[in-house]
Symmetry: C2
Subunit: 191 residues, 2 copies
């Protein structure tokens, strides 16, 4: 049998994305992706460098998609309103794409894979540009951006991991959490 289907890298990554978002990142295997595409596992090597390569492609897609969504969400906004929009969009992305979201951690080291490292830090850059517009003391901007990132990521990660035991409203808790951090950031702004 020769060339039967018009399989492309896009198709492979798309299929893997669907599996990851539906059944979790660990459900991705060459076997499951190949099966979804109606193809045998070795055929995937024509498009992707093994399982590791597939995961890498998935991470690229995740970084690019999230960065694009965040850039869109902040359009026309500045200051705390922009930060709130970014946090909400970030959380929404994680809800809609839990599998892609999981590819962010652990991050590759800059030595191992500088290209992928840069792609995964793209979303952070969007937040950074909003913060510099707010005229924060340069000495404290890095800890503050880390605090915001930690709070948002931590909340989403716990939420996705079903780690909040109590039935109390989770949306409200998210608002409380990010407002707490954003207010603290605003109090150090000179804009």
């Amino acid at each position: 049998m020769g060339r039967k289907l018009g399989l492309t890298l896009e198709h492979v990554v798309e299929a893997a994305t669907e599996i990851a978002d539906r059944d979790g990142l660990s459900a991705i295997s060459l076997a499951s992706v190949a099966s979804k595409l109606g193809v045998r596992s070795p055929s995937l090597y024509n498009h992707v460098d093994g399982l590791a390569g597939l995961r890498r492609q998935l991470a690229f897609r995740a970084g690019g998609l999230l960065a694009a969504e965040m850039a869109d969400s902040v359009d026309g906004l500045t200051g705390t309103a922009a930060l709130r929009a970014l946090a909400a969009q970030y959380r929404s992305f994680a809800h809609r794409h839990p599998g892609l979201y999981a590819t962010f951690l652990p991050a590759p080291t800059p030595d191992d894979d500088p290209e992928l490292t840069a792609a995964l830090l793209e979303p952070v850059g969007v937040v950074g540009s909003v913060l510099t517009e707010m005229d924060i003391d340069p000495l404290t901007v890095v800890p503050l951006i880390r605090a915001l990132r930690a709070a948002v990521h931590g909340f989403v990660d716990l939420e996705l991991g079903r780690s909040f035991g109590l039935p109390d409203d989770i949306d409200e808790s998210f608002t409380t959490t990010i407002d707490l951090v954003i207010d603290a950031i605003a109090s150090k702004s000179n804009a």
Copy 2:
């Protein structure tokens, strides 16, 4: 060959802990654990219910250890000092036991495994008792404890995942992050 070594559940879980803390949670396999113990993989079934059972035992150990350390760390302290001690101990645990720490997520659903769910929520209980002593409005205590948990977990998770790109001092960023949340909590305390 019959009964040769005095292998116990403790030995198995201990070996798995060492592997997980050194090489990551995903490095745990029955093969790697058995090899470390000088035993064949099927022998482990005499002590543990397969790989899933081993991971479950590891999660129990993680929950118990962290809860004990946190209870110790808060001894004699109250209020914001207690919260700061808890956060520091939590982070220290994650640094010393990254493999055990990773077992906390994703959490099992209460329906699937109520026993393990309870064990993993034990550390949260320690924080809860400190907060109730601080006399916080019961309506806002749940969002606040979630904010604190999200910030601390998020920070540690990003840190362990090498996701902080910049070389800026990480200890200082941690202090900034948790002080930010703890100060907000303190401002709502009536104690």
